[in-house]
Amino acid sequence: MKYLDEYRDQRIARALAAEIAQWTTRPWVLMEICGGQTHTIMRYGIDELLPRGIELVHGPGCPVCVTPLETVDKAIELALRPDVILVSYGDMLRVPGSRSDLLRAMAQGADVRIAYSSTEAVKIARSSPDRKVVFLAIGFETTAPANAMAAWQAKREGLTNFSMLVSHVLVPPAIRALMVSRTNRVQAFIAPGHVCTVVGCKEYEDLVRDFRVPIVVGGFEPVDILESVLMLVRQLEAGEVKLENQYVRSVSYQGNLPAQRIMAEVFEVADQKWRGIGPIPQSGLRLREEYAAFDADRVFDLGELSVDEPAECISAQVLQGLKKPTDCPAFGMRCTPENPLGAPMVSTEGACAAYYHYRRHKVAS
């Protein structure tokens, strides 16, 4: 497929790995933020192509993984109401809440529908006027414009049976939280290419300046990741601190302005809790006052919940790059994608799922 296959070329990947090895004189710790990139790294064994000194640690960029337990519980509670149709992206169905998950709620009779796009949720609301349709709107900046569009469309059409349970997170405040943490080991970041497609490289300039940390906006194919690593290693070895863009074919400095406009029209920045990590100031999005009628939290008066993660799950450390999934005693034993203890084992972007799919035999042997 054009613009995919070229970037999976093995010869180029090996040449890039050789170039990285030539540049590397010291050990460096790099973090890829996005779980999509983590999966590429595991799937193609990119970490094994790199010189020994280069360590890739995996970041919190998995929207399903960081959606608070409380939001999952609220979604289940809503889904179980007979007058509600809960519409969700497929990734959320197996994510464990404190007592159950959406898949089990379905087995108990809840009407849960899987949507590929937020527009499908609006469509369901339009065709089911006697039911209340709640869309579980989760995601990073990449997904926020699409989810915003659903609320905008519902408002424009005057739909009274559509609302969104919103859990939206932003990447730069999470990087900031990692950098100020006393346990931080990360010396450079691969920034998430699709988040930056929407918000532009400009959002990352402050981070580079404030923390004197090299950042390269990177794509998702093996060649993209290797080139991003090479760009970071060159900077680190030369003592440079810059923002660079590897993913030029999709990312611009300004980002996607129409997408940013709809995000700003519908959402405003707010404090947000991250599952496994805790609250991070100004790190999320909530619906603006003008969209209060579409805010499931207010429509259903869900109130504040607070529940604890299972003590056995180390996803907090995994999401902050402090531990590898294979450091967890439950990994692949009591915690599997079929029976997950924590969200990173469920999501197609979760680090634990990536290790499970591509590395578990190696761990076992």
Partner: protein, 84 residues
């Protein structure tokens, strides 16, 4: 969830205020909203995420990057054969 896949625009139509396209991904064709990429036209490649195109793939940039990488691939003769 933050994945976006490149696809080629085969046809465009206006649905009320929405501009939508039929977009081809390998052998599959899907309907995609072009609301965020008003500049995209027939034959263009777009990156698609949850049913919305979020960027038009800059083909000259994509080719330039790829050429550069391919030239690096010439180094391959210097390397040991790939492990299988």
């Amino acid at each position: 969830m933050c994945l976006a896949i490149p696809g080629k625009i085969l046809a465009i139509q206006e649905l009320g205020p929405m501009r939508v396209a039929r977009v081809q991904f390998g052998g599959i064709v899907r309907q995609v909203s072009l609301s965020f990429v008003p500049e995209a036209g027939l034959g263009d490649y777009v990156m698609v995420h949850v049913g919305f195109a979020i960027s038009r793939v800059d083909s000259s940039e994509a080719q330039r990057t790829f050429k550069l990488l391919q030239e690096m691939g010439a180094l391959e003769t210097e390397l040991p054969p790939a492990e299988t």
